[in-house]
Subunit: 153 residues, 2 copies
C-alpha cells in the first residue's frame, strides 16, 4: 500500500533502537518490491522477500529457507509454490537424500535476484552520499558487528 510519510516530531534522543531499525528496513522492503515490479518482475509481492532475502534460495532445501525466514515449512512451501508457478524457481528431488528437495533459481529467478542486489547497491550509494562515505561505512560495520553477535539469534 501507500508508504508512510512520517511527519511527527523527531526527538533523536527519545528514539529507541526498535523504531530506528524498523523504519528504514521497512522502507527498503517497499522500495525493493516497487522497483522489482517496475522492472517487469510484477508478480513478486512483499512476502516473497522472505524467500529472496540474503543469501537467496539457490541450491537450498525448503526447510532451511523456512528456518532462515523464521516461518513454518508449510508457509514457506506455499511461497515456494507461488514462486515456482511464476517461474522464478524449480524444486527438484535431491538425489539419494530421502524425499528431500532442492530449490534452484530459473533464469528469471536469477535475474530477479540480481535485480534486488542492484537495487540495494543503489540504495547504498544514496545512503553513502547522504551520510558521507565514512559514516555509512561505519554504520555497516556496526550493523555487521550486531549481526555477528549472539544478539540477533
Amino acid at each position: 500500500m501507500m508508504p508512510p510519510s512520517e511527519s511527527f516530531p523527531v526527538n533523536a534522543e527519545d528514539m529507541l533502537i526498535g523504531a530506528l531499525l524498523r523504519v528504514p528496513a521497512q522502507a527498503i522492503h517497499r522500495r525493493i518490491i516497487t522497483e522489482l515490479n517496475a522492472a517487469g518482475f510484477d508478480d513478486l509481492r512483499l512476502p516473497h522477500i522472505a524467500v529472496l532475502q540474503f543469501p537467496g534460495p539457490d541450491e537450498v532445501r525448503p526447510a532451511t529457507l523456512a528456518e532462515r525466514a523464521g516461518m513454518s515449512k508449510q508457509a514457506m512451501n506455499r511461497l515456494l509454490g507461488s514462486l515456482e508457478g511464476f517461474g522464478y524457481i524449480v524444486r527438484t528431488n535431491a538425489p539419494g537424500e530421502g524425499g528431500a528437495r532442492i530449490v534452484r533459481f530459473t533464469q528469471r529467478g536469477h535475474a530477479a535476484y540480481a535485480k534486488i542486489i542492484d537495487i540495494l547497491r543503489v540504495i547504498e550509494r544514496e545512503w553513502s552520499s547522504e551520510l558521507g562515505p565514512e559514516r555509512f561505512a561505519q554504520l555497516k560495520t556496526l550493523l555487521t558487528l550486531v549481526w555477528e553477535s549472539p544478539l540477533v539469534r
Copy 2:
C-alpha cells in the same frame, strides 16, 4: 512461530544494508511480542506492532496511525477494533471535528506500551554491553541520521 537460527556463513563484506537492518529489526519484533505475551499481554500479536510502534497511538486519529504504519485506514481500523476488544484502547468521537475519532489508551494499553519501552531498554542495554557503549551510541546516532534524512520517507 519459531525464530530463525541462522547458521550460514557470514561474510561481512558481502552483506548489504537490507539484510543488515532486516535481521535485527525482525529479532526485536519477535522478542517484543514474546515478552509482552509472557508478561500477561497475551492477546497481542505481531501485526499489533504496527499500532503500538513509536510514538504510540495515544491521542491520535486512526487515519494518522494508518499513515504511520503505511497501511490502509481499513486495515488499521481492524487492528484498532481488535485492540479495543482486548481492552487496550478506546475510540471516542473528537468533539466538533466531523466524524473524526480519537484513539486513547486504556490503563491496560498504557501498561502494555510501558512494557514495550521496558523491553526495548533492556535490549539496548544488552546491545550496549555487547558492542561497547561508545559503539552502541554511535550506531544509534548514525541510525538517527538516517531517520532524519529524506532517505526513509
